[in-house]
Amino acid sequence: MFKWLHPYANPEVSYNFCGKLQPWLFRLSALFLTIGLVWALLYAPADYQQGDSFRIFYIHVPAAILAMGIYFAMAIAALSSLVWQLKLADASAAAMAPIGAVFTAIALITGAAWGKPMWGTWWIWDARLTSELILLFLYLGVIALHNAFEDKNLAGKAAGILSLVGVINLPIIHYSVEWWNTLHQGATVSKLGAPSMSAVMYWPFLMCLLGFSFLIAALVCLRFRTEVLARNSMRPWVRTLAANALELEQPMSCNSHGKHSQNQGAK
């Protein structure tokens, strides 16, 4: 049933496939982010309680949702790498970690900038904010582990185990607003059921969410390809690619190199 997936276990096939997807994902993200952000900043109505500070919502919530989504995807990649020893799954997990960290940081910073005018404080050690901060630290730990070992397989194993242990944090983040008393408001948008907000706010939010999703997918493609290159640096197809890339960049120095080695040969 899943036999069509098999060719993608080949690094070269996956590399080329992501290379084809990448520009389209960037274009789609530019399109949806432009629509979404212009809508959110100019045309969406101000909240009747929060005024125009509500416009932070259109970045804050997509970033927070996607930060958790990336973590989940990274954990699935880590699991498949640990169980089936898929090297490409390791590469994709290593590609996702920095992107997830950036979106967690965006969620935290926009949250603080929203909290100051609404709650009167930038930060409070309540359940939602603390668990989100732990998510950032988990990401940083995974990134550090990926870079801590010369042997990438070993690094992938260590980082993969940390990512799997860290999955416990995802339900804690999600339910923190229900389990504990917190300043943070409950979920406005949930994937199940109708949104508890009006359509004039829901649609621009959806556009932003889509735009950020495509942006993340494009970034994952780019970073995944880099990881594949670094992990397969001795393969002939990578070497050809690298040699061509260097020649395109600095054709002059290549020529002088050739002469230099010829002189050595004559000596």
Partner: protein
Amino acid sequence: MQFNSFAEFLNMGGYAFYVWLSYGVSAALIVYLLFASVRRNKTVLEQIAIRQKREQRLRQAAELNMQEQGINEPQINDEMIEAAVKQSTQISK
């Protein structure tokens, strides 16, 4: 359109600092991530190419050495070259 003038838009109903701080920091972080990712891709490709060049030069030098010593049998195999290259260069991060 929710705003009557550009100044009103910039003012964001009195929340200008917080709204533009959020949008600014988010944009800056995303742009940084984009550039860092593109740059790392280039660096990795470059390092692979440079290592390859060094490998070629090492191979040439080894062959030259053998000629000078009058050895015709190839005593140097790929693994030795690879080990030498690995010692002299390493793909960082």
